[in-house]
């Protein structure tokens, strides 16, 4: 936030930590609550509901695609940017993948590679418009949000669905490998890579610097345009990977794939404590945000009360919104309190 006084370097890590810890408590509380309230024994005497390992794996499987998009969005939001087109790009990449494999007759590894490249090109289109033409990311990606989805619908004329993928491809989305759902390994790999990029390299620092002040970063000699190009292109590649996983999970590629996913992903990032104005935030927070939303959504569907009301989806939407507002308020209140206190007493050295 450019207008607020910059906190001292020693101060903001502790604040960040506080937000992430708060979120961790929320996640734990959610999990324990659903564990006790959402686990029952069925007629046959089998343990069913939230407390089963199958359910936990389902949560993981259902959150991989949105989780990947949230990981893609974290560096972007750190630079004070936004990418509304990731969900549409997921849809377009799913269709392109289906077309390359089904109509183009390419082998699956080749189709996958090409899809990842095409996703990167989609991201690069965003990057070019943002850096070369100096257009605001919100406007650019709002445009490509419609463009990508429109392309996906045009290619399939809204009617074609690619199916009949072979078993070895569906393995990625539906089976387990080394104890975990296969796609979880891909998700964790990307999570690790993005964590390293953001928290352990100079790139990560430059993202924050750009987010704090793009002009300042430019004067400090940072290649702002190149860094921005990197984050948007990376987002395109990750969206393409999410498209592959989505296609493998459902065994179908359709033009409506990933509709609305960008908003879930942005919610997870903001819930994770990354400032929408850029400059502060962490990948750990994003991962916690994704987990908190996924556990809430899946946990609610396990509660007998919610089940009988047939309103799991609606309740999940409502409570996710409440959780986001609660978390935001929770992270602002200590700051306000600290500001009030420092005004009353002269600042002392720690």
């Amino acid at each position: 936030m450019r207008t607020e006084p910059q906190p001292s370097p020693r101060d903001w890590p502790t604040r960040l930590l506080r937000h992430e810890m708060l979120l961790l408590y929320v996640l734990l509380a959610e999990w324990l609550f659903f564990y006790f309230a959402g686990t029952t024994v069925n007629r046959k005497g089998v343990l069913v509901g939230f407390g089963t390992l199958d359910r936990q794996f389902d949560i993981l499987r259902h959150s991989c695609e949105i989780g990947l998009l949230a990981l893609a969005l974290t560096p972007i939001i750190l630079t004070a940017g936004i990418d509304l087109s990731v969900g549409s790009l997921l849809g377009l990449c799913a269709i392109l993948f289906g077309k390359l494999w089904h109509d183009g007759g390419l082998s699956l590894p080749l189709a996958t590679t090409l899809t990842l490249i095409l996703g990167g090109i989609g991201g690069a289109l965003n990057a070019t418009l943002i850096t070369a033409l100096r257009l605001p990311p919100l406007i650019v990606t709002l445009g490509t949000y419609s463009l990508f989805r429109g392309l996906a619908e045009a290619i399939t004329r809204g009617a074609i669905t690619y199916t009949d993928f072979p078993g070895e491809f569906l393995f990625i989305g539906q089976e387990r490998w080394l104890g975990l759902p296969t796609q979880a390994w891909l998700f964790f790999t990307v999570a690790l890579a993005v964590t390293l990029l953001v928290h352990r390299t100079t790139f990560g620092r430059s993202f924050r610097a750009i987010g704090f002040s793009p002009e300042g970063a430019r004067y400090a000699g940072l290649p702002v345009a190149r860094r921005l190009a990197l984050v948007y292109t990376l987002a395109g590649i990750i969206a393409a990977l999410a498209a592959i996983i989505y296609t493998a999970r459902l065994g179908q590629a359709k033009a409506d794939a990933g509709t609305g996913y960008e908003l879930f992903a942005i919610t997870a990032v903001v819930l994770g404590g990354t400032s929408i104005f850029g400059g502060t935030g962490s990948v750990y927070g994003t991962l916690l945000g994704v987990a908190a939303i996924a556990v809430l959504k899946n946990g609610l569907a396990c509660l007998p009360v919610v089940m009988r009301m047939n309103a799991a989806e609606e309740m999940a939407g409502l409570l996710t919104g409440a959780l986001l507002l609660f978390a935001l308020a929770g992270s602002v209140l200590p700051k306000l309190w600290a500001a009030g206190r420092s005004r009353r007493s002269p600042p002392s050295s720690p």
Binding site: P13, S63, Y246, L250, L303, E313
Partner: protein, 351 residues
């Protein structure tokens, strides 16, 4: 932006509490656990454990067609003393359907009844359900044959073709010219229905003559202009039969505007709501579809019978409560004759 202490890398699923400084945090944790326990025991009910649980999945849960199916399903569930879950995507979303089915699997329901939005997509989830001992039936729109035990088939092409032709013959006293409006000349289901209509015509109604078959591209406007053209090209035309749902109100509007209400009759395959006005005005005589409430009723009965081992593979017929006995063709349970909506009964249906 220097180094800072980081919390332990959080796992997506914290199966064990991470290493917090326990002395400080234990009170919060204990409180959380206590609240969880209290709320948990208050919310979980034991009723679910004794009754058979049947889950009913529509293509989209706000669609009046499926709400009307649900009406029949609820009636059946009440009669059979089973618990009915009804959930579906708010839009017709194949991915959501899979997630809901996967959720039901881990909730340990006994039967899942599905109207598939995407045949292949849903089948992966349904196979998983079967593997875990859940009985699966489909209704309205089938999944892959190996992903379910039975498909409750609401209408065979033969049944639809015969019902339309017989109704046309009844209205014209088996005599005179009629024309047909289809969606496209190539659509597989339309071709199939047309085949049975023409066969029935040849076999039973020699004095009737099909003078034209026109496509309307599934558009009401096009159906209207096609119907107008048909009436001027064939002055002796007595009836227009539309076999795609936008075609019925389209043809009715054309007849009404030409002032030929009653002189040229309109029938067709469609939904009651789209045609209600024309049926009441006497432009359209009958709309043919199936009874959606019976479809839901039969589906639940079949699902429960399957779970109780009363319905087995290879059965030739099946008795479903108040509705009586239904034929089984292979693994399709046939709902039977299509239902005719007319002035007398159309207001009992809302979809």
């Amino acid at each position: 932006m220097g180094r800072r202490p980081l919390p332990p890398v959080p796992a997506i699923i914290p199966l064990s509490p991470p290493h917090l400084s326990f002395a400080m945090k234990s009170r919060i944790l204990r409180l959380t656990v206590a609240v969880g326990l209290i709320l948990g025991s208050a919310l979980s009910t034991r009723a679910a454990a004794t009754k058979l649980v049947v889950a009913f999945l529509p293509k989209s849960k706000g669609n009046a067609y499926f709400i009307s199916c649900k009406g029949g399903a609820e009636k059946a569930a009440k009669e059979l003393g089973v618990e009915l879950l009804f959930d579906g995507p708010t839009d017709s979303n194949a991915a959501k359907q899979n997630e809901i089915v996967e959720n039901w699997i881990t909730l340990g329901v006994d039967v899942i009844a599905v109207a598939a939005e995407n045949k292949e997509g849903i089948s992966t989830a349904l196979r998983k359900a079967q593997k875990q001992g859940v009985k699966v039936v489909t209704y309205d729109a089938d999944a892959m044959p190996d992903a379910r035990s039975f498909f409750v088939n609401q209408a065979t092409p033969e049944g639809i073709g015969h019902a339309l032709m017989d109704d046309a013959a009844r209205l014209l006293n088996q005599e005179g010219e009629f024309a047909m409006i289809t969606a496209t000349l190539t659509a597989a289901n339309q071709r199939e229905w047309q085949k049975y209509i023409e066969a029935r015509l040849k076999e039973k109604y020699p004095k009737m003559k099909l003078v034209a078959v026109r496509p309307c591209d599934d558009l009401k406007d096009k159906a209207q202009s096609e119907a107008t053209a048909l009436m001027s090209a064939h002055p002796n035309l007595k009836l227009i039969m539309a076999i795609c749902s936008p075609g019925v109100p389209g043809a009715a509007e054309a007849v009404k505007q030409a002032g030929k209400t009653g002189k040229v009759k309109v029938i067709g395959l469609g939904l009651p709501n789209e045609n209600r006005r024309y049926v009441h005005e006497g432009v359209t005589d009958s709309v043919i579809l199936w009874n959606t409430s019976d479809l839901g009723y039969l589906t639940i009965h079949a699902g429960v019978a399957l779970a109780k081992d009363q319905l087995k593979k290879g059965a030739k017929e099946f008795t479903a409560g108040a509705l009586g006995t239904f034929q089984i063709q292979g693994d399709n349970i046939l709902l039977g004759k299509p239902f005719v909506f007319n002035k007398a009964n159309i207001d009992q249906f809302n979809f």
